[in-house]
Amino acid sequence: MRLRLEVNGRRRSADVPPMKRLLDVLREDFALTGTKEGCGEGECGACAVLVDGALVNSCLVAACQAAGTKIRTVEGLADGNAGATGLHPIQQAFWERGGAQCGICTPGMLMAAAALLATNAKPTEFEIREALAGNLCRCTGYVKIVEAVAAAARAKPSQRRTGRDAG
C-alpha cells in the first residue's frame, strides 16, 4: 500500500505491506532509528510513539492503521519546544537528573512522559509511576526517571507544550 502520514510535522509516504509494523516503517522506511525495539510484543515500551497524541507501542501497530495519522517520535519531541541546549524540557530534565543510563528505554520513556504531561500538567508521584508502568527500564530502578518527569512538570508551563498540541 501507499502509506501517507505525517511524522514529526513532515508529510511522509512509503510503499509498504499493509501489515508492516509501524516500528519498522519508522526505522526502515524513514530512517528514524530513535524508536527502539525491545521485545516486539508490546511489553517493554521501548518503541512507544505518539499517534495523534496518544501513546502507542509501535511494534503493535500495523502500517495500515497509521495511515493519515500524525506521528511524533523522539526525533521530533523538541520541535517547537527546544530550550537553549536544543532539548525539550523533559529531555533536559532526564539529562540533568540521570533519567537515562544505557538509553535504550529512553525514547519510549520520553514519549510516555510527554503523553502524561500533555493531559496532566501536575501529576503526583503515583500518577507518574502509573503513566510509565508500560515502559520497562532495567538500569535506573525508575527513581531518577520519576524525578526527571516531576522536574519537567515543574518547568514553566510555556515550556511544557507537548503531546497532542505538538502533534
Binding site: 526525533e75 529531555q91 543510563q101 538509553g103 535504550i104 528505554c105 508500560g134 515502559n135 532495567r138
Partner: protein, 759 residues
C-alpha cells in the same frame, strides 16, 4: 609506562573541583535525542542477515545436517562445524575452560545450542533457508537437576581456624538450606553484532561492531577461532543498551558466528537476536543451593560457620569457575568468624550455560546468609539487628581468607545509618500495632548487611595488567583512551572527571573515545565493579604522566593544577617540539595485594564496599501479593566521583535485586526456558519499585581514584534477602527460596497454619 609512585595516595589535600560534582553526562545528548546508534541502528550497505539453527534437545548426538535439495540454495550461505574443521578453524570459544564450541560438532549439550549458521540478503530469506536445513539427532540421557548432577566443573575450599573445636563449644547450632533460581539479565537491547569479511586491502583485518561489555574478549575469541594474530581483529563497541554481565562473555559467541558468516558470504553480516532468542539462548544467573551450619555462643556470637555452596553451571564451564570463586569468598559475609569451612562446587547440567550477571555469585550467598541470620536470631531469641551488631567486622577485622581489612567497620556504619534513616525501631512498633488491626494485610521490615570486593579476584588484576592512555590534543584538550565500555553507568563521564581533576582542568576540556580495539589499549573487561576503582586509577596515573611531561616542558612543579590557558600554551609547545602525545599507564598493584590462589588465603580483593539495606513490605493475606513500601539503603563506596551516577547505579541495582527476590522466575522445562518472553517473565515496573532512600557513605580507599571503590554490583547483593526477611517478618513465616512469589508465600503461610492447628 609504569606509575612511578606505586602505592602513592591519590588523595589530595586541595578541594576537589570536578570530582564529586554532578556534571552533565558525556553520553547524554545522543541517548536523549534518538541520535545514539545502537547496533540495530547501524546503516551497513550490502549487509546480509545471519540466523542460527539451534538444537531442540537437552542432550543429543547430531547425526547429520541435510540441505533440502528442492530448495534454491544459491541465495544463502550455510556454516556448520564441518566447515570449521574443513577450513582449519578452531571450534572453541576462548575463555577460561576450553569446552564450549561455536557450533555443535557431534554432541549437542543443551537446548538452543548453535548447530548451523545461515546468512541471506534479508532476515526473512535467511529464516526461510534455515527452515530448509534438516538436522537429525539421536537423543541421549540428560541431567537437568543440578542438585543431583555429578559432573563438577570446579571446586573450592576455604579453611580458617579450627571448625572442629568451635562446634563442641557452641551453645546454639543452627542449620539451614537456601535456594535461588536463574535470573535473566533482561537488558532492553538484545545481543547483536555486525561482522565484516576480512579486508584484503587492510591486511586481512576482520571487523566486528556491536553491543558488548568487553571488546578485547571478542578480539581474543576471534583470534583463536580464525588462528590469526589478535592485531588482525578489530572490535568496536556500538552504543550498548545495558549489559549487567549478559554482554560479558556471550558476545564472543555471536561475534564469532557473524564473522564466520561474513567470511562465507564475503559481505557484512548482521546478527540481531530478538527477545525470544536472546532469552532462550543466552546466559543467566547461576541457580544456587547454599547450606549453612552455624555455631554460636550463649550471647549470639558466631563461633564457627560451615557453608556449602552449590551452583548450576549449565552445559559448559564458561565463567562458572570465577563466579564460584567470588561466591565462596563472600559466603561468610561481612562478619567476624575465626573458625570456618566454606566449600563450593559448580556442576554441569544440560541447560544453556549460566554466566556473568551483576553480583557474580555474591547475591546467591548473600541471600542465603542474611536469610539464615534471621532464622538464627529467631532460633536463639534475639533481635536480628542485635545479632548482626554482635558479629559484624570491626576496622582491621579479617575476612574468611584471613585478609585484614582496615575499613571493615564501615559495615557497622552502614548498619547504623540505615537503622536511623529507616526509623527501624519506631517502624517495628508501628507495624506491631498495625498488624493487630484486621486489615487483611500485614506489614514487615527486613534487613540485610553485605559487602562486595572491588575488581578481579586475587591475582586477577596483576595478571590482567590493564593499560589506559590519555592523549594530549591541540588547543589544550585531553582525550581518554580505554577499552572500558559505557553501558549506562557513565564510564566516559567519570573518566573525564578523573582526568580533569588530576590535571586541574575544566571537565569540558576532556574528551573520550569510542572503545575501538584498533585505537585503544586493553584496559581489561568492563566487569567486576572495576571500571572506576581499578581502570579509573590507571587513567589517573596516565594523566599524571602527562602532567609530569608538561611540567618538565614548562619548568614547573608537577602535581599542581593547570590554568586552562597555560595548559594549552605549554601543550602546544610540547607537541611542536615533537613530544609524544600519548601517555600510558599500567596497573601497578598499588595496594600490594597478595593472594594464594591454591590455598585461598590472603588478600582476595584490593578493596571492599559495604552496605546495609532495609526493606518494608505489605503482604495481602488473600492474594499474597507483596508491595514494597519503602527501601532504605546505606552504601559505603569510598568516594562518589559523580554522586548522581553513583545513586543511579545503586538504585538500579537494588531494583534488579528486588526483581530477583520477588518477581523474576525463570521456569525451565526440559532444560529450556519456558517463559522466555517479557510477557511472562515479570520485570519490576515503575509501580513495583518505590522511591529508594539512599545514604552514601564515603571512607576513601587509599588506592582508588580520589578514594573510589567499586559500586556496580554491591546493590545487587542485598536487596533480595532484605525483602524476603521483611515478608517473613510480616507473616511470621519461614522462606528459604527465591523468588518469593505469591504461590511460595501462600504455601509457607499454609504450612504455618497447619502446624499451628496440629499443635
Amino acid at each position: 609506562m609504569r606509575n612511578e609512585r606505586p602505592g602513592g595516595s591519590n588523595l589530595r589535600q586541595r578541594a576537589l573541583r570536578v570530582v564529586g560534582k554532578n556534571v552533565l553526562r558525556h553520553e547524554g545528548f545522543g541517548k536523549l535525542t534518538g541520535r545514539a546508534r545502537y547496533v540495530a541502528d547501524l546503516d551497513v550497505p550490502g549487509a546480509w542477515w545471519g540466523v542460527t539453527v539451534r538444537a531442540p534437545h537437552a542432550r543429543a548426538r547430531l547425526l547429520e545436517i541435510r540441505r533440502d535439495p528442492s530448495f534454491e540454495w544459491g541465495g544463502a550461505v550455510v556454516v556448520t562445524a564441518d566447515d570449521l574443521a574443513r577450513f582449519g578453524r578452531t571450534n572453541i570459544v576462548a575463555l577460561i575452560g576450553e569446552d564450549q564450541p561455536f557450533l555443535v560438532a557431534g554432541l549437542a549439550e543443551h537446548p538452543e545450542e548453535a548447530v548451523a549458521l545461515v546468512a541471506a540478503p534479508t532476515r526473512e530469506a535467511a529464516e526461510r533457508a534455515a527452515a530448509h536445513l534438516e538436522a537429525r539427532y539421536e537423543e541421549l540421557p540428560s541431567e537437568l537437576d543440578f542438585e543431583r548432577a555429578t559432573t563438577t566443573f570446579k571446586k573450592y575450599e576455604i579453611h580458617k581456624g579450627k571448625l572442629v573445636r568451635a562446634f563442641p563449644l557452641a551453645h546454639h547450632i543452627v542449620t539451614g538450606t537456601y535456594r535461588s533460581g536463574h535470573q535473566e539479565q533482561a537488558y532492553i537491547e538484545n545481543n547483536g553484532v555486525v561482522a565484516f569479511p576480512p579486508d584484503p586491502a587492510r591486511g586481512g583485518i576482520r571487523e566486528v561492531r556491536g553491543s558488548m561489555q568487553c571488546p578485547f574478549y571478542i578480539v581474543a575469541a576471534l583470534a583463536r577461532l580464525f588462528g590469526e594474530p589478535r592485531e588482525r581483529m578489530r572490535v568496536v563497541q556500538s552504543t550498548t543498551g545495558g549489559g549487567f554481565g549478559g554482554k560479558e562473555e556471550f558476545p564472543s559467541m555471536i561475534a564469532g558466528h557473524a564473522a564466520l558468516l561474513a567470511e562465507a558470504c564475503g559481505r557484512p553480516v548482521r546478527m540481531l537476536y530478538d527477545r525470544a532468542e536472546d532469552m532462550a539462548a543466552t546466559t543467566k544467573r547461576h541457580p544456587a543451593r547454599v547450606t549453612h551450619r552455624t555455631a554460636l555462643d550463649r550471647q549470639g556470637r558466631i563461633l564457627g560457620m560451615e557453608i556449602d555452596v552449590l551452583l548450576d553451571g549449565g552445559a559448559y564451564s564458561t565463567l562458572s569457575p570465577v563466579v564460584l570463586s567470588r561466591a565462596v569468598l563472600h559466603a561468610a559475609g561481612p562478619y567476624a568468624c575465626d573458625n570456618l569451612r566454606i566449600t563450593g562446587r559448580v556442576v554441569k547440567t544440560n541447560t544453556p550455560p549460566n554466566g556473568a550477571f551483576r553480583g557474580f555469585g555474591v547475591p546467591q550467598v548473600a541471600f542465603a546468609l542474611e536469610r539464615h541470620l534471621d532464622r538464627v536470631a529467631a532460633h536463639i531469641g534475639i533481635d536480628p539487628v542485635e545479632l548482626r551488631r554482635r558479629n559484624l567486622l570491626e576496622d582491621g577485622g579479617t575476612t574468611a581468607t584471613g585478609q585484614a581489612v582496615s575499613d571493615a567497620g564501615a559495615s557497622r556504619q552502614a548498619l547504623d545509618a540505615v537503622l536511623a534513616r529507616s526509623k527501624w525501631a519506631a517502624t517495628k512498633r508501628a507495624h506491631a500495632a498495625w498488624n493487630r488491626k484486621n486489615t487483611g494485610k500485614r506489614r514487615g521490615l527486613g534487613l540485610a548487611c553485605y559487602f562486595h570486593g572491588t575488581g578481579f579476584t586475587g591475582n586477577g588484576e596483576i595478571e590482567l595488567a590493564s593499560v589506559a592512555a590519555v592523549e594530549l590534543l591541540a588547543r589544550g584538550f585531553v582525550r581518554v583512551r580505554t577499552s572500558s565500555t559505557e553501558i549506562g553507568q557513565g564510564t566516559r563521564t567519570v573518566f573525564a572527571q578523573i582526568v580533569a581533576e588530576t590535571l586541574g582542568l575544566p571537565y569540558e576540556r576532556v574528551e573520550t573515545f569510542d572503545p575501538d580495539t584498533a585505537l585503544v589499549p586493553d584496559s581489561g573487561p568492563t566487569v567486576a565493579s572495576r571500571t572506576v576503582a581499578i581502570v579509573g586509577r590507571i587513567v589517573a596515573d596516565a594523566a599524571r604522566a602527562l602532567d609530569r611531561a608538561l611540567a618538565a616542558q614548562a619548568g614547573r612543579k608537577p602535581g599542581e593544577p593547570w590554568a586552562a590557558r597555560e595548559f594549552e600554551r605549554v601543550g602546544a609547545a610540547y607537541l611542536a617540539a615533537g613530544g609524544d602525545p600519548f601517555f600510558c599507564a599500567r596497573f601497578s598493584n598499588p595496594s600490594r595485594q597478595e593472594f594464594d590462589d591454591v590455598r585461598y588465603v590472603g588478600d582476595a580483593y584490593a578493596a571492599y564496599a559495604w552496605a546495609a539495606t532495609v526493606v518494608e513490605v505489605e503482604v495481602d493475606l488473600a492474594s499474597f501479593e507483596v508491595s514494597v513500601r519503602r527501601v532504605t539503603s546505606a552504601q559505603e563506596i569510598g568516594r562518589a566521583i559523580h554522586p548522581r551516577l553513583a545513586e543511579g547505579q545503586l538504585e538500579g541495582g537494588l531494583a534488579q535485586a528486588l526483581g530477583w527476590g520477588l518477581f523474576e522466575e525463570v521456569v525451565m522445562r526440559g532444560g529450556r526456558m519456558a517463559n522466555g518472553q517479557l510477557t511472562n517473565y515479570v520485570l519490576p515496573t515503575a509501580i513495583d519499585i518505590p522511591t529508594i532512600d539512599l545514604v552514601l557513605l564515603e571512607r576513601p580507599y587509599q588506592h582508588g581514584p580520589f578514594g573510589a571503590k567499586g559500586i556496580g554490583e554491591l546493590p545487587m547483593d542485598g536487596g533480595a534477602p532484605a525483602a524476603v526477611n521483611a515478608i517473613a517478618d510480616a507473616l511470621a513465616i519461614d522462606l528459604d527460596r527465591i523468588p518469593a512469589t505469591p504461590e511460595r508465600i501462600a504455601l509457607a503461610w499454609g504450612a504455618k497454619a497447619a502446624a499451628e492447628t496440629s499443635a
